[in-house]
Symmetry: C2
Subunit: 448 residues, 2 copies
């Protein structure tokens, strides 16, 4: 029983709803849309990610025999409900923003059109997957914008919220423009480039720092990046310089050094000087330790000689905004548009499409959200990706998604590239046709 | 290949280190300790959790054939390294704080004593598991303290960071004193009580709210908790009152209602009045929607008639402090104590023990961290849990862990029970023997 594919990765009320739908024969077509209600703090845009995992989940959806036994034995459902669930598959269609697409509040990221029980059951896990990857891709895109030309590597697994979070964060960061990750499973399972240097414990396990450097270089001659902050960073840089000639004679090149603590601006300058004066001008400087996009921006602005950054906890937890206000809402059932009107949580009804317009320089100008069928000028962002429960194409390769994401970042207007909230947020309009539909739904409700 | 048990859920540099250790025959006994360097913002204590998953990971540690193939084919390691890894098992011992134990900064949560390569390899996943469950147990304990006598249920799966985070958050919250979770897999896999009500989409899929309530009650007569905020909360409460007599005649009891939006203080009072006047004094009020421990505290202080809370995103992401400064550091190798001295990240060397002293009322008074063997007055907190790679006892039941956690919260001094940082933090002393050892290590380093 694979936890990650289990339909029991859901909220109890989804199963309760299915039981009630089943009892009352409610299985007409429902349309649900997944969207984010508001931009999180310090965010001027979001970047869509997680669609590949969401579609895989839908395509593989089925209850395992032991899961059905648990449902039967739980006593929480009607007799016969487990047997009914045993036959359940996802047979619907999905429209979505391609991964790597920039989007904004209230714009559907994904739309599910399926018999009501199928569309309802998958709510929890669809949000769970798309929410998290989108959260991290959005966070990662910020450091990509802050560090043009720098190597960025995800170092976050240890403080990611579980193993799946570590793996999906590596993927989301790679989509957004990171060069790779330290997480080995992301390499073995997803083909994401894997990076690594050496550990403090390796240095500490030796009685002598120079001996540790030498042994590491000998054991891993193809990737000699030495960690130099275990005791005294500048002293260690001198040790590297002393070691290098002998290593070079033996055909081993010191590729770089890593700083992981202290005043990175000051230390990177002094270490650069020590390396340059010691004949190691070709060795790169890599920095890690409490790095986030704000710190990267400040270091880059100060012109520090750092060639790359390992970004960990702040990236994989999106620490300054650890969640999005992501929801999955019923917008139509049995051919009728629907609308929730709860205070502060009202939704726009019906099946929607988003049109995007660009200025002459090809930068994003404004978006229009409207009802499907109300064609507007501009680019239609939601595209069909699944029909009859099957993907319309093989999963996109990560290279293609990365290219799309990079293209999207280029198209961002300057006002949205800043790390702080833009003075005037991006303009997303609600088309008259959608306002009209919302009014109709409200009048129909009041009429009852 | 199960992602959650895979030894490739690690950082590349761990494997690189193992390769180098192997090349140089470095396999003497290492001691690593997992601890949190500083308390996160707004936290006066932490609650240990995740040990069961950590021990299971260690006991099952082995590389699958396809993982070894990937390592071999990656070209990143020495020839023969994959074959060597194929034989690797965890053969060491573990000491730990029992789950549910309150602890503070710099106190070891877990200590691994094993041949260096084994102890190194497991760093990433051990932190990943213990960090996250401890983070959520700590967060959950705060709402438990804020809501004495109230029902608390984890509603967070959809915005948890992946499926494993959802499952482990449910476990951690249950340990800390929550009554259960909405996550079905936490029930089916871990025996945690599962709770649920009804969804907005169920109401919206009906043309009429009363009809939706009636159908839900008929389909799920054993758990009639009606969601009343889809359109107008007070109007819906009146509909519940109107429906109830007919349902009662048919043997169906309205157990309660759920509010999910709006001004919960005002609405809970007016809904309570409507229900009481309508003969539903026995029906409970359950609230959800952007709930956290601060909001619970304020609602409880205002004396609102809410019987229970569903807590979601804030709990499972620990949104006001989404990570701990958790690390796993080499403290001894080959019989010699070790110490990292990086700026701001220096550690106390050697194998340690924590002693806790209580005041006459049985409340925590102060802790002392010292070297193992330096027996101090008070309770020794770290206990042996694994030897020769095998658990010393069957995994503890959740009931026993919950009882311990509840007992720990009772022993908290009042100053640490507040949701904001205490004016004077809990006193954790470093014993003279440990200071002496650190000095010895530093002098030995300088002597070289």
């Amino acid at each position: 029983m694979n936890l990650l594919a289990s339909p029991l990765m859901t909220d109890l009320y989804q199963l309760t709803m299915l039981d009630a739908y089943h009892a009352h024969g409610m299985d007409e077509t429902a349309v649900f849309e997944l969207f984010v209600r508001t931009l999180p703090p310090q965010r001027n845009f979001m970047m869509a990610a997680g669609l590949a995992q969401a579609l895989e989940f839908l395509e593989q959806l089925r209850f395992a025999p032991e899961e059905l036994e648990w449902i039967e034995a739980s006593g929480k459902f009607s007799r016969g409900f487990a047997a009914h669930l045993g036959r359940l598959r996802f047979t619907g269609e999905v429209h979505a923003l391609p991964e790597g697409t920039i989007f904004f509040a209230n714009e559907p990221v994904l739309r599910v059109t399926a018999p009501l029980p199928e569309a309802q059951l998958v709510e929890t896990r669809l949000i769970n997957l798309v929410h998290f990857e989108t959260l991290v891709a959005t966070k990662a895109a910020r450091s990509v914008l802050a560090a043009p030309g720098k190597l960025l590597v995800d170092f976050g697994l240890r403080r990611a919220h579980g193993a799946e979070a570590g793996l999906l964060a590596a993927r989301a960061a790679y989509i957004a423009g990171y060069s790779g990750t330290a997480t080995v499973a992301a390499g073995s399972r997803m083909g994401i480039p894997v990076f690594g240097t050496m550990a403090h414990s390796f240095v500490e396990a030796h009685d002598d720092e120079s001996a540790a450097f030498r042994r590491f270089a000998e054991a891993c001659p193809q990737n000699v990046v030495l960690l130099i902050d275990t005791y005294d960073t500048e002293a260690a840089a001198h040790k590297v310089v002393e070691l290098a000639p002998d290593l070079t004679r033996r055909g081993i090149q010191v590729k770089g050094v890593r700083l992981d603590s202290g005043d990175l601006a000051a230390l990177s300058r002094s270490v650069r000087r020590i390396l340059d004066q010691g004949g190691l001008a070709g060795a790169t400087l890599f920095a890690s330790g409490n790095i986030d996009e704000y710190r990267i921006r400040d270091l880059v602005a100060a012109g520090v000689p750092i060639d790359g950054f390992g970004v960990g906890t702040s990236l994989v937890t999106s620490s300054d905004a650890p969640y999005l206000d992501a929801v999955y809402k019923l917008q139509e059932y049995a051919g009728k548009p629907r609308r929730k009107r709860s205070t502060g949580k009202a939704t726009w009804p019906g099946r929607k499409q988003v049109y995007r317009r660009y200025d002459r320089a090809g930068r994003l100008e404004n978006d229009v959200i409207t009802v499907e069928g109300d064609t507007q000028p501009g680019e239609a962002l939601l595209v069909p990706v699944m029909r009859n429960g099957r993907r319309l194409a093989a999963p996109e390769g990560l290279a293609a998604i990365r290219e799309r994401a990079a293209g999207q970042l280029v198209k961002l207007p300057d006002s949205l590239r800043a790390l702080e909230s833009a003075a005037s947020p991006y303009r997303v309009e609600i088309a008259p046709a959608l306002r009209e539909l919302a009014g109709q739904v409200d009048r129909a409700e009041r009429g009852r």
